[in-house]
């Protein structure tokens, strides 16, 4: 019984979050679609949360190794995703630096 309740509450969260996602993403500037993709890469690496538990809990070693690889993969996405997003966003300027004029 609790299990089906869990399922439905998770389903509600999923559907509502998808609608919020569509609403928010539709308004993202088209200029920024590449940075958008890299930041969502980083955000979906929230899988790191699951990987930490699997890696660090008192489970058999074989299972923890799978967790550690997953943790490495997620962490790579977090680090490279946020860094490259920021690197790209820094390049978007509305005006030229005064030094560039004439």
């Amino acid at each position: 019984m609790t299990q089906t309740l869990d399922f439905w509450s998770m389903m509600f969260v999923f559907v509502l979050a998808s609608f919020i996602g569509v609403g928010v993403i539709r308004r993202v500037s088209r200029l920024l679609h590449t940075p958008l993709m890299s930041i969502t890469n980083a955000i979906s690496a929230i899988a790191v949360v699951g990987s930490i538990i699997v890696t660090g809990a008192d489970y058999p070693e074989g299972i923890r190794i799978l967790g550690a690889i997953a943790l490495f993969a997620s962490m790579t996405n977090i680090v490279s995703g946020f860094l490259i997003t920021d690197r790209m966003l820094k390049m978007f300027k509305s005006e030229r630096k005064p030094a560039d004029r004439k």
């Binding site: 969260v13 930041i39 930490i52």
Partner: protein, 468 residues
């Protein structure tokens, strides 16, 4: 740490993630989005790590450090390589989901069959199938974009391809159903790897028939899959933060894929199963058409006498590394009081928004980067449309020629400008392999040569003493 505090922290992280995406709606606030995202991720990691069931810390530290060691260089790739990096990161996301799903299955199996409820099994199968197919599919996409030698660039097709692919996926899902009904059977741990292998194989076969021109859409679709794999992981682990963050990622990929499809006048199924770029080598034979070419001096003179110049960049510009020369040309024209705008087609680069990033890197203000729908009404007023390395996105055949494979695709109306200059390295067709009528129009003058050299020569002419 108590359950309530953990949930509160996850809730805060969720809100911060939503703000992170919200702030991406304008370049002015976008960097705040990154800070919000980093804050949310840090909160989530710290709180999770501090949970009492996490008792071994060594491997966590090692994996996190390894993530930094690989992640930092991956964030410094040239901007032309960003599509590959993005595809690679979808692969990592898919791998993580697949591995955690696998770990959870064997863990629950060893702890006792009562753990493997139907709900959990369905979630695990979805997570593992989506995760592993995203893993190999994204690796293939990254390989194609990187132009790795042993991965064919052109679509690979064979008879009954779609049928056999679907049969493969069907077999994987059937095995999944079987496993869900008998999760604790003696043979179950043997069937699980079969599902993994089938999903890995399906990922490869899914990407093989897709051509280079469709990569922007494919990356967006894989982005969506990576997000959905994270959602499935959230269902497995009963973690709502994973579900929300994954859903945000999934919807983002979906919207970008729809935008890309619309920009090419294609449907999802056509991109995934259509093997575009395969059969367009049929040349419209018959009358031999002639290019008219223009000298650099003549081109510079026309440019100098213009009021409005629209530059239409394509990926060829980036291949030739001509962005910075284009910026110099922009400067020279601006100095003369000429209005210069860039017309950006949604599929001008190799991923959504790619061209904007390449031009921003060359220090061109984003206020002069206009998307197709904004610039097209202005095209008839343009004195010059300068096409730099673009081909299919300015091909009028998309409007007129029903037999053309790009018929119906929205294009930038370069042909409506008073004069068109098209810089082209050779007389070969473009990325999608289609001949371009624009080059034979009465108003069009070709500037043959490497884009970087040609634009460089134009700049030299304009900055030279004779032109003031």
């Amino acid at each position: 740490m108590s359950h309530g505090i953990v949930q509160l922290a996850y809730l805060i992280a969720t809100v911060l993630f939503i703000f992170a995406l919200h702030w991406m709606n304008t370049p002015a606030t976008a960097r705040n989005g990154v800070y919000a995202g980093v804050a949310a991720m840090t909160i989530a990691i710290v709180v999770t790590w501090a949970q009492p069931e996490v008792v071994h810390h060594g491997w966590i530290v090692v994996a996190i450090l390894a993530g930094f060691v690989v992640g930092v260089p991956l964030s410094r790739v040239p901007l032309t390589a960003v599509p590959q990096r993005t595809a690679l990161s979808h692969a990592f996301g898919g791998l993580a989901a697949g591995l955690v799903g696998t770990a959870k299955y064997y863990l629950w199996f060893s702890e006792g069959p009562e753990n493997l409820t139907t709900f959990r099994m369905v979630a695990i199968i979805v997570e593992v199938v989506l995760g592993f197919l995203t893993f190999t599919g994204s690796l293939m996409a990254a390989g194609k974009l990187q132009e790795v030698k042993w991965i064919p660039q052109r679509p690979v097709t064979y008879p009954l391809q779609n049928v056999s692919n679907l049969a493969l996926l069907g077999t994987a899902l059937l095995a999944g159903v079987l496993l869900t009904m008998h999760p604790a059977a003696g043979w179950a741990p043997m069937v699980f790897p079969v599902i993994i292998v089938l999903a890995l194989l399906f990922g490869v076969l899914l990407i093989i028939p897709i051509g280079g021109a469709d990569m922007p859409t494919v990356i967006a679709i894989l982005n969506s899959y990576a997000g959905l794999a994270a959602v499935a992981m959230g269902f497995v682990l009963d973690n709502k933060l994973l579900i929300t963050a994954g859903a945000l990622d999934g919807s983002s990929g979906l919207i970008l894929a729809i935008i890309m499809c619309r920009a090419m006048n294609r449907s999802f199924t056509n991109v995934l199963f259509g093997a575009f770029g395969q059969t367009q080598q049929v040349k419209a034979g018959g009358d031999q058409k002639e290019y008219k070419s223009e000298t650099i001096e003549g081109g510079a003179q026309v440019l100098e006498q213009s009021n409005l110049v629209v530059i239409v960049p394509g990926y060829g510009m980036a291949v030739a590394q001509a962005q910075h020369k284009v910026r110099e040309l922009y400067d020279q024209l601006k100095k003369r009081g000429i209005t210069v705008k860039f017309a950006i087609h949604p599929v001008a680069g190799r991923m959504p928004g790619h061209m904007n990033v390449l031009l921003a890197e060359a220090d061109i203000p984003y206020t002069d980067l206009l998307e197709m729908d904004e610039i097209n009404p202005e095209m008839p007023q343009a004195d010059v449309a300068l096409v730099v390395g673009a081909n299919d996105v300015v091909n009028p055949a998309a409007r007129t020629d029903r037999s053309s494979p790009i018929y119906g695709m929205p294009i930038i109306d370069a042909d409506k400008a008073r004069t068109v200059f098209a810089i082209k390295r050779s007389k070969n067709p473009g990325f999608a392999g289609i001949d371009n009528e624009l080059y034979f129009s009465d108003r069009t003058w070709m500037l043959f040569g490497d884009a970087k050299n040609v634009v460089g020569e134009l700049v030299k002419q304009l900055s030279g003493p004779g032109m003031h």
